[in-house]
């Protein structure tokens, strides 16, 4: 979570209002099931009450977790449907709100993952614009980063990048995702803009 922005813009009106939103109403808000007039009233309260805001925020996290566990496909995943169907999906892991698919087609193990392109990953991509990285410091950094994000990668012999990556600096820069496919100790990386 963006720590600076979270801290700086979360509701802080002292003293906090006491007529808190009822639990079921917070749940209805999260479900998107309130009418216009109620919606206005609740939002006014949420902008002034840390407690209710926090309960809603955490509830939305739980709903997102639930949705990710139920989702067995992502846009990228769909493009590999044929491959996916050929393999038996054994394990769907939920890591830090991101979906990681580990599946085995007998052997060898294939890992498919879509990760938010965060600063740590960007730094690794920005070292230079080589499209093939042989074993070495940069590959080790990538392995460590992927492990930190919960991917079960032990070592990589080669990393192949689909195209050179350049930093998008604008305040309006699109969200980017790193699509990864690892097979036979070779990782194929592709950065794509997310639709959302």
């Amino acid at each position: 979570m963006g720590r600076w922005i979270n801290k700086i813009i979360k509701p802080t009106v002292a003293p906090e209002p006491e007529d808190h939103i009822a639990i079921e109403d917070l749940a209805r808000l999260a479900d998107g099931a309130v009418d216009k007039a109620e919606n206005q009233h609740f939002i006014r309260h949420l902008n002034r009450c840390q407690r209710c805001y926090e309960i809603l925020q955490e509830t939305l996290k739980d709903l997102a977790d639930e949705a990710s566990v139920q989702t067995t496909s992502s846009p990228w995943w769909k493009t590999r449907t044929a491959y996916a169907l050929a393999a038996s999906i054994i394990l769907v892991l939920l890591i830090g709100g991101q979906l990681v698919f580990n599946y085995w087609n007998q052997r060898p193990q294939v890992i498919l993952a879509t990760l938010n392109l965060d600063q740590q990953l960007k730094d690794i991509l920005l070292v230079d614009d080589a499209l093939r990285w042989e074993k070495g410091e940069r590959v080790n950094r990538l392995v460590a980063a992927l492990q930190q994000k919960g991917l079960q990668v032990k070592e990589l012999n080669l990393v192949v990048l689909s195209k050179p990556y350049y930093q998008k600096k604008s305040l309006f820069g699109p969200k980017e995702a790193l699509h990864i496919r690892i097979e036979n100790k070779v990782a194929y990386l592709e950065v794509k803009e997310m639709n959302q």
Binding site: R3, P11, G32, A33, T59, L60, K61, K175
Partner: protein, 249 residues
């Protein structure tokens, strides 16, 4: 709905465990939180569970209820905690620094920025470092690494790595201290001038990293409209920041 059945389901018990883990890092706190939530659900013959009227999805109701109990548990716990008198003596700014570093696990460096933004401390960074000496030596059960600045830098750097897709956070991290403090003030003031709907939109999307589609539902807008709205709001932030002489380095 059978409250006893709900409370004996593994899924719900695991959920309570997971929510407590999300809120507390120390195992002892996680365990106390778990017991508090279970007690709260059982209290008065399952009053809180029986209050469900079927107007939201049951699972969403349970998530909200568990989170409400956890939030209340945390508030009770923090409310009981005292700030050491040696810190109180130094003034409001010192209490704020203690809360930020000991309870909320920010680094002293970050705490400096926050007390400057809130106008609680007017001096320079060097003065700040001198004056926090007694705070660093104050006891802090919640945060055993309280005295070390370096260890905290580590954790903030880790957080920085999470900001990839948040344009406001991304900007803030690129700025030096003086400009960061200025920019954060501008962002707060700009947000407060937005309409109620726009405020909650940016709070949830850029403050809490909720997906736009999820947030759109809360504010009763189609996702495409919420996205358009966010673009407009980002333009406002950018204009205000530029007007204050702040741009991406």
């Amino acid at each position: 709905m059978d409250p006893e059945k709900i409370l004996s389901s593994d899924e719900i018990l695991e959920k309570i465990e997971a929510v407590c883990k999300r809120h507390f890092s120390a195992e002892v706190d996680q365990n106390e939180c778990y017991v508090f939530v279970i007690d709260g659900l059982k209290a008065d013959n399952f009053k809180r569970l029986r209050a469900y009227k079927g107007r939201s999805k049951l699972s969403t109701y349970l998530y909200s209820l568990i989170n409400a109990l956890v939030v209340d548990f945390r508030r009770k716990r923090y409310g009981r905690r005292r700030i050491p008198s040696g810190v109180v003596k130094l003034g409001k700014w010192a209490e704020a620094v203690y809360r930020l570093v000991c309870w909320q696990k920010f680094s002293f460096d970050d705490a400096f920025d926050f007390v400057r933004i809130d106008g609680l401390f007017e001096g320079t960074y060097e003065q700040f470092i001198r004056e926090i000496a007694p705070i660093r030596n104050a006891p802090c059960r919640e945060n055993p690494t309280f005295q070390s600045i370096d260890e905290h830098r580590g954790s903030s750097l880790q957080n920085i790595a999470d900001s990839g897709s948040n344009p406001l956070e991304f900007l803030i991290e690129k700025l030096d201290r003086e400009r960061r403090i200025k920019a954060l003030k501008v962002i707060r003031e700009t947000t407060e001038a937005f309409s109620e709907k726009d405020q909650i939109l940016v709070r949830l999307v850029y403050g809490s990293d909720q997906p736009v589609s999820v947030t759109a539902k809360v504010i009763d807008l189609p996702a495409s409209a919420a996205r358009r709205r966010l673009k407009g709001l980002l333009t406002k932030y950018r204009e205000r920041l530029l007007a204050e002489g702040i741009r991406e380095p």
